[in-house]
């Protein structure tokens, strides 16, 4: 199962959009925070978790999804949100805490909800598992089409809630796929110090479902593995587990000095950057011309610029808005 040329362009476009978005956010994040780094200052306060390097996972999976399908994402949600089609203007505005944001500034960077494309995320590790399994159950009970995908980090797979949700999905044979983004670190704790098995795909055996591991952070290989799992789910054959070998090019959060990384661990990492690799591959395969790629890149950049401009120019919420939307209207 290989992506069509159109899908390849879509994948590249979303990877580039995500990367430009993250780069822009990273730059703006430090506005007002230097010389002395103070997280509370600047136009984007609070913690910021960027996903540079992990874009192939989001596009490889979401290429198979429609807005009807459900995605629950993590505390590192931007690449997943962009690939799922979350409104970029509203998402940027949310990250800036503006009234035009997805929740009018109530949720923020770790709590992006876009009901139009069935996207949600959470700052609590593995917390997306239950809701994704629940959405899959709901689809099955209502006879509605669609699958639910939960993205988690490899650190999340040690949460009790992860195991409980996997078992539930399996025992009820639900249209559910768990995608693990293995970037080898849970903040400062290496996967090898936190996880009893070298790779998490084998954990699928505990639930009697298929488990696959994709090496090399390769968007095409991820596309293929995700395609099989999602097709299985759509055909009523039950859940699957996919683990993807990926990496984060930056720290766990903005401001992370990464003192815990063994010396040299990041050497050569930027040479493995998946975006230039994808670009070179599209050219080599003749799937896109230099001009086409340049157009995609320019459009992605313009899209991001427009979203950031929209966010910057949007109004702050009224302070008293804090007291609204606690209960359903």
């Amino acid at each position: 199962m290989a992506p069509t040329q159109k899908e390849q362009h879509w994948m590249y476009r979303n990877m580039v959009t995500s990367r430009r978005f993250e780069e822009t956010i990273a730059k703006i994040y430090f506005e007002g925070k230097s010389p002395a780094f103070n997280m509370a200052n600047g136009p984007i306060p609070g913690e910021m978790h960027l996903s540079d390097g992990q874009e192939p996972v989001a596009v490889g999976v979401c290429a198979h999804l429609t807005p009807e399908d459900v995605v629950t994402a993590t505390h590192r949600p931007h690449h997943q949100a962009i690939a799922k089609g979350v409104d970029l203007d509203k998402m940027a505005a949310e990250i800036f805490g503006k009234t035009t944001g997805l929740s009018g500034g109530r949720g923020g960077h770790m709590h992006l909800f876009d009901a139009d494309v069935n996207f949600a995320c959470s700052g609590i590790i593995a917390q997306g598992m239950g809701p994704a399994v629940g959405a899959a159950l709901s689809r099955k009970m209502q006879g509605k089409p669609g699958v639910a995908v939960a993205f988690v980090g490899e650190g999340a797979v040690n949460q009790g809630g992860w195991h409980e949700a996997m078992n539930l999905a399996a025992v009820w044979n639900l249209p559910f796929v768990c995608v693990i983004e293995d970037n080898a670190w849970g903040i400062s704790v290496a996967k090898s110090a936190a996880t009893a098995v070298p790779t998490n795909d084998v954990r699928a055996a505990a639930y009697g479902i298929p488990g696959t591991r994709v090496e090399g952070n390769d968007p095409f290989a991820i596309y293929e593995a995700a395609g099989k799992a999602i097709e299985r789910a759509r055909n009523g054959e039950g859940p699957s587990l996919i683990e993807v070998d990926t990496y984060r090019l930056a720290g766990h959060f903005m401001g992370d000095a990464e003192g815990y990384r063994p010396e040299g661990e990041k050497d050569g990492l930027s040479a493995k950057d998946p975006i230039p690799a994808m670009r070179a591959r599209l050219l080599k395969d003749g799937a896109a011309s230099e001009e086409e790629l340049a157009t995609i890149e320019a459009e992605a950049e313009a899209r991001v610029e427009a979203a950031i401009k929209f966010a910057r120019e949007s109004a702050d919420p009224a302070p008293e808005d804090a007291l609204t939307a606690v209960f359903a209207a």
Binding site: G46, H111, Q159, P317, D321
Partner: protein, 339 residues
């Protein structure tokens, strides 16, 4: 006082120092939690410990709070004195069973035949737009459930004494430290929390409140960050000729009702400041402690300055609107006077 005893420490360093000193004399003390090793804790409270004590006693855990907090209960009952960290108090949801059904109840279930000598450290508070899952205080949630002592220091002196006391206590102690008081520059820390800390070990009595500022017109009762807001408000009130007394609860469980009552008996007026949610929480408990004892000491209806009953919003303008601050305390006084 020797020169070295005049050094100032942040709360983070005071907590780490207390832990190191206790670990040196008591081999049963060990620390576990997420990122408490090489990183030294997200809020700095275990910094330097890995180098001195090694990975056996300074134990990074998987992201498995139910397992490692439950394991701490088991280890505590088996002769160890674990110190465990729940990185943000907000994460209690994934592991509360281990906390309130095990840690808090096993002494009782054993008829007092078991000891559960463990410390659960956890960070509280917001004010830097970290969103509703990373900014709560939840003092009331933890203090409400019987069987665990709950402490919350407002400065480094108290932090060290409470930490040592907590590690020596045979009952479980929840140690709630406020992010904005830790002395981590990147959180825009409150300078008043960094104070002189003696080098030698000492303990603070758990369950004893402190009158941190004497006054005669109104008692402002608070804990943690609220104490600093109360002190700033007291200063502002002083400029208006109002003499405010500030009570730092230091411990939420046991709650030093005597000190609160004595203060209100003296001033006749009470304002409670709580960064936790308003309803069903600390502020109601403190007011009840006074009114159910002797309502006649009050010259005015008590006031509370607390976080409104909404999830903590992300956007700065909304979060700041909700958080207690000195101006709101002064406004509470003005309302009280006008009433």
């Amino acid at each position: 006082m020797t020169k070295s005893n005049e050094r100032k420490l942040t709360i983070a360093r005071a907590m780490a120092e207390a832990t190191a000193q206790e670990m040196r004399i008591d081999p049963t003390v060990f620390v576990m939690g997420e990122d408490i090793g090489a990183l030294g804790g997200v809020y700095g409270n275990t910094r330097g410990l890995l180098d001195e004590f090694g990975a056996e006693r300074i134990r990074d855990t998987p992201i498995s709070e139910t397992a490692f907090i439950g394991a701490a209960v088991g280890a505590a009952q088996d002769g160890m004195r674990p110190v465990v960290e729940l990185m943000f108090v907000d994460f209690f949801g994934v592991c509360f069973d281990a906390i309130y059904n095990l840690m808090a109840k096993n002494i009782y279930f054993s008829g007092g035949n078991l000891k559960v000598p463990m410390v659960l450290m956890t960070s509280t508070g917001g004010g830097y737009s970290d969103g509703g899952q990373h900014s709560q205080c939840l003092y009331g949630t933890f203090a409400h459930l019987p069987g665990m002592k709950v402490v919350a220091p407002s400065n480094a002196y108290d932090a060290k004494g409470l930490m040592t006391a907590a590690m020596r206590d045979d009952s479980p102690v929840v140690y709630m430290y406020h992010k904005g008081l830790q002395g981590m520059g990147w959180l825009g820390t409150e300078a008043g929390a960094t104070v002189h800390v003696p080098e030698e070990p000492y303990t603070l009595e758990i369950g004893k409140a402190k009158v941190v500022r004497e006054g005669k017109d109104v008692s402002i009762v608070s804990v943690g960050m609220g104490v600093h807001n109360a002190l700033k408000a007291a200063k502002a009130l002083e400029a208006q000729g109002v003499s405010a007394e500030v009570v730092d609860l230091v411990s939420l469980v046991p709650l030093d009702r005597e000190t609160i009552r004595a203060s209100v008996a003296k001033t006749g007026r009470l304002i409670v400041v709580d960064e936790d949610y308003m309803s069903y929480g600390l502020s109601g408990e403190i007011i009840a402690s006074v009114t159910e004892h002797n309502i006649s000491v009050l010259k005015a209806a008590p006031k509370r300055v607390a976080f409104p009953d909404v999830p903590i919003p992300y956007a700065r303008v909304m979060e700041q609107f909700c958080l207690p601050n000195p101006d709101k305390i002064v406004a509470a006084w003005n309302d009280m006077k006008a009433a």
